[in-house]
Amino acid sequence: SDCGLCCVREARAAMTSPGNIHVRHLLGVNDKRERVVKASRDVTMNSKKVIFQVHRANKDNKEEVLSKAEKDLAATTEQHMSRLVKELQGTDFWKLRRAYSFGVQEYVEAATFCRFCRKGSLLGLNEINSTLAPLSDQNDEPLQINALDYLLGLADLTGELMRLAIGRISDGEVDYAQKIRRFVQDIYRELTLLAPLMDDNAEMKKKMETMLQSVMKIENVLLTFTAMNDHGGSTGDGNHGRRLRRT
């Protein structure tokens, strides 16, 4: 009975040292992973709401809707991302990554979407991470979103931008749609170089395919809407009509 006890005794001893999370997990005492999963689900849900909110924007209500979305995003950060920040430190970032990765990806999607709609530019990973820093008063190693989750979130962003582009075109904002096309083409091109370098790139590979579909949807819509701007039949007299709506 020595053998058995030594093993368990060891495990029990490890339980008392709070840093050694894997032993405690094994003994079923530690439910950190479960709490991380729950926080991640909340982040996902709220990020999705922010994204949908942004889609409601049009020329007239843009400022109002965007401000609201940004406020909701900030609330998500403070209420839910903060829970992740509190749970995770050091080695957890990688050990528990699968438990929070989806939430963080959706969060990146929401944050970069807001930024694009506000400024037309790409929100960098450093900027996101710097907004997370103040949430961790107790840790010396605050949660840093890793590049993989950031890039996976960015891949999803292109789907939202596709929806946005088609919506903008319906609202007549063709130039804005052109801008989105350019932005999305650039992201796709950059990710073409990056995707194969990423850890375990099967997930990213799948997203690359979806992304190409999104890029092509934007391109195809723009084809009929800008280039194909009809000149009034084969006589081709038109310098009026929709083209006037662009400026």
Partner: protein, 228 residues
């Protein structure tokens, strides 16, 4: 043995619900057939026929549909609280029915068939067996998918008023949908499709306008469109 009698109860229960499911499926396929007939009638809208004539065929099926939903309701009354257990067996047919009813309603009145009106046309009461809101909304998306084709054919048939009216209707419908927080994947995808319908109708409207075929717009029209 006691185990046998215990499981025996389940067999009875499962056979009962299997029976209900079978009856529901059989009804659902009758609904589908009715939808097909109604759809065939409404397809005439794409040809140069007077609207009342088009609607006549569809209307004749409305009674059949109402009757079928009545029988569906009866079955569901036999197993209270199990609406959503069997929902998957008729929901796709119901979505199609809503799309057809709302299309013919729009042809007739130019306005949207509301949720309450849809329930009413199907003879449903909201207490036990109502029309699921998502089914209603998906049905509207399906209806929207028919509109570009309708506009194209109407213009081909010489009706140049049509694009503007459809555009106005669709713009409003689209912006109403935008208010909803659609997290349901299927509905959201269908709603994404509506954007394409809107774009196509807009395109036809401009085709018509650019060639001076559209009736003269008033200033008011412009505002509504821009704000859409």
């Amino acid at each position: 043995s006691s185990m046998e009698s215990h499981f025996g109860e389940f067999i009875v229960e499962m056979e009962k619900s299997g029976n209900i499911r079978e009856r529901i499926r059989s009804l659902a396929s009758e609904i589908e057939a009715t939808n097909r007939v109604m759809h065939a009638g409404l397809l005439l809208a794409h040809q140069p026929l007077p609207i009342p004539e088009v609607l006549k065929k569809a209307e004749s099926q409305r009674g059949v549909l109402r009757d079928l939903y009545g029988r569906l309701a009866e079955i569901l009354h036999e197993c209270p609280g199990q609406y959503y257990r069997f929902h998957g067996d008729w929901r796709s047919e119901t979505q199609t029915a809503v799309s057809l009813l709302s299309f013919s309603h729009w042809l007739e009145t130019g306005s949207l068939l509301t949720h309450a009106e849809a329930e009413n046309k199907l003879g449903l009461d909201t207490s036990e067996f109502g029309l699921d809101i998502e089914d209603y909304l998906i049905g509207l998306c399906f209806m929207s998918n028919e509109l570009p084709r309708y506009v194209v054919n109407q213009v081909t048939n010489g009706d140049y008023d049509c694009p503007k009216n459809v555009l106005k209707f669709l713009t409003e419908l689209h912006s109403a949908f935008r208010m909803l927080n659609l997290r349901n994947d299927f509905l959201r995808k269908k709603f994404d499709g509506m954007k394409y319908d809107l774009r196509r109708v807009e395109e036809v409207y401009y085709d018509v306008k650019i060639r001076g075929l559209a009736p003269v717009e008033s200033a008011q029209d412009h505002i509504t469109l821009d704000g859409g």
